[in-house]
């Protein structure tokens, strides 16, 4: 009897061991190929409405994404990969050397908190070796260097070594900056926190860990980290969290290279804007604007002066162009197109009235949704004051900024208060009544529906 009890215990222990060792099967590459982010929208097409709403706008802002295998390391791996990728994107061999030197200097921190050098040097060497290898691939064609980096990160031993190294740096940073992090850990001992939440081989990054990794790795490299939290919290926008780098002067670095992550409960993937993929060039933007200018000219010519003075007319054409532009090229380029628009437009022989009206209109986005609402739902998303949101306001806000100076002319102010302006009490009801709106913007609506 005694022996049978023993066997049962053995068996239980065995089962316990099996269940302890069980890991759900995970598939897919450690880091996947870059693909269109519309796949995310498709993925959520039949999901909860909150997800549907939030993902619907995603592809227009973040054109591409990359999956990370959900093996419990994805957050660490996503940051590590995008860190290398951002260095590669800068295309400066010296930056790789600078980073290696900087990381080596951090070994003082590792030693300070009692990590023995022979225990971390292998991981550090793997990290530096990949830095050097990637640096060597910089002069090569862009695609092959990126592909080689992807292959490296899909080697489990190598990517785990780099993740481990970054974990140790993170742990050392937290322990040597205890005052910054202790408030977030409540009463937990900081050493114990690091031993159980940062250093273990199998532990996903948490917010404290991510903050520390941003401090030790991302920000000093001059990069910013942006995390989009896609969850079921109320709202139409995906919540975004930024870790922004500071320059030597203590001021934020303008337009830093961005590492972008998409967080879905328990999992991280990598996001890209179009600008992250192609080195920003004026050429494609110019093409888009040439279309906009060309389109405008016939409208201006074909209409009477009174018609062109109606602000709603012009943004109709513009508003239709913008969704297309923002799908292909990101709206950060907005100041450039607006600047480019002036020379493009200037040679066209038009009356001065038309000239300033065409500039005025982008600053009055109010008209845009009204003119467009029937034809194109996308312009509703573009919003304007009626449905304010961070994403929608951004383009209008910027163009308003960049144009505020040239428009402070007397002519401009006059146009603001003439009968054609939306602030004018005589004009406003006209724009708001569907019938009269149909009459006034008849022409351009026809144009838009043909597009």
């Amino acid at each position: 009897m005694g022996s049978s009890t023993y066997i049962a215990e053995e068996e239980l222990a065995h089962l316990q061991k099996l269940s302890g060792e069980y890991q759900p099967e995970v598939t897919g590459p450690l880091v996947g190929e870059r693909q269109s982010s519309s796949a995310i929208t498709t993925e959520y097409a039949n999901a909860d409405p909150v997800y549907r709403t939030k993902t619907a706008a995603l592809p227009s802002k973040y054109s591409h994404y990359r999956t990370c295998r959900g093996d419990g390391h994805c957050g660490w791996r996503a940051i590590a990969f995008t860190y290398y990728e951002a260095l590669l994107r800068l295309g400066d061999k010296n930056r790789f050397l600078e980073e290696e030197t900087r990381l080596r200097s951090l070994h003082n921190l590792l030693n300070t908190i009692g990590f023995q050098e022979h225990l971390y040097e292998d991981f550090a060497d793997e990290c530096f070796e990949l830095l050097r290898k990637t640096a060597a691939s910089v002069p090569a064609a862009d695609e092959s260097a990126a592909a080689s980096l992807l292959v490296s990160f899909n080697d489990e031993a190598l990517s785990m070594a780099i993740i481990t190294y970054f974990k140790l740096l993170t742990s050392a940073w937290i322990q040597t900056h205890a005052n910054d992090f202790q408030p977030f850990l409540l009463d937990q001992d900081i050493r114990e926190y690091c031993a159980t939440q940062i250093e273990p081989s199998i532990c996903e990054i948490d917010h404290v860990g991510m903050s520390a990794l941003a401090e030790v790795l991302v920000k000093p490299a001059g990069f910013a980290l942006e995390v989009l939290y896609l969850d079921r919290s109320p709202g139409e926008e995906i919540n975004t969290y930024h870790f922004d780098p500071l320059g030597h002067d203590g001021l934020p670095i303008p337009n830093p290279p961005m590492l972008r992550l998409l967080y879905r409960p328990g999992h991280y993937d990598i996001l890209y804007k179009m600008e992250d993929i192609h080195i920003p060039q004026a050429a494609p933007i110019h093409v888009a604007l040439a279309g906009y200018a060309d389109e405008f000219v016939p409208v201006g010519r074909g209409m009477s002066d009174v018609m062109t003075l109606i602000p709603g007319m012009y943004p109709t054409g513009l508003g239709q162009n913008w969704p297309a532009v923002s799908y292909d090229y990101q709206p950060t380029a907005i100041p450039q197109p607006q600047m480019a628009a002036v020379p493009t437009y200037a040679p066209v022989p038009v009356s001065t009235t038309q000239d300033y009206v065409s500039h005025v209109n982008p600053t009055i986005p109010v008209e845009s949704p009204i003119g467009m609402s029937i034809n194109s739902p996308m312009t509703i998303e573009r919003g304007g004051p009626f449905r304010p949101s961070m994403y929608e306001l951004e383009p209008g806000f910027h163009s308003g900024q960049s144009h505020s100076l040239p428009f402070q002319t007397s002519i401009f102010r006059n146009s603001h208060y003439n009968t054609a302006h939306f602030l004018n009490p005589d004009f406003q009801p006209e724009e708001w009544t569907p019938d009269s709106e149909y009459v006034t913007s008849n022409r351009s609506r026809n144009k838009s529906s043909s597009q």
Partner: protein, 176 residues
């Protein structure tokens, strides 16, 4: 890393060539650990590879003073996976031991040997952790419920059972 390996990795990186580097790293790492252990000679613990196989070690720890294990010494076996140190070694008590967190086959319930394993741990830190586990058992999740109960209730009986179970030259039945 040898010059040949550097050259091959520069020429073309493919996962297979990297994984050989991985197991080379295990060997290198264990050699360094062995060196450090022998140089530092921490009192109360020792460890050495079995024969030629660097992936299997035998270790001993002395029971800490002021605990029921004082004066006793315990043999353990270490088995290192090829993914070490990213994965924990398998550690077993070969000497029979009566302890709340160690079962009669010598298997150990210690978080750092399971989900809290970190690549920064090594043979030395594992042995030191086990040594302190002898004096400070985690009685909230025992493998040996009786031991966990007696630890607080009846230290005399506990000590008697420890001594009764301990047999210097005998190894536990797992026979691995």
């Amino acid at each position: 890393m040898t010059a040949a390996e550097v050259n091959s990795s520069e020429a073309k990186i493919s996962p297979p060539s990297r994984s050989t580097t991985g197991s080379a790293n295990v060997t290198k790492r264990l050699q360094t650990e062995l060196m450090t252990l022998m140089m530092s000679s921490t009192p109360g613990i020792s460890a050495f590879p079995n024969d030629e196989n660097l992936l299997q070690w035998t270790a001993t720890i002395d029971g800490p003073d002021g605990t029921p294990y004082a004066g006793l010494s315990f043999k353990l076996s270490f088995e290192f996976p090829s993914t070490y140190p990213l994965t924990a070694p398998t550690v077993l008590f070969k000497t029979p031991i009566y302890h709340p967190n160690i079962d009669f086959s010598g298997r150990i319930c210690l978080d750092i040997l399971k989900d809290k394993w970190s690549a920064i741990y090594n043979v030395q830190s594992v042995l030191l952790s086990l040594q302190s586990l002898l004096g400070e058992p985690n009685n909230s999740s025992p493998l040996n419920g009786q031991a966990a109960e007696l630890w607080d209730k009846d230290p005399v009986e506990y000590k008697r059972l420890v001594l009764a179970r301990h047999r210097e030259d005998e190894e536990t039945g797992l026979g691995l």
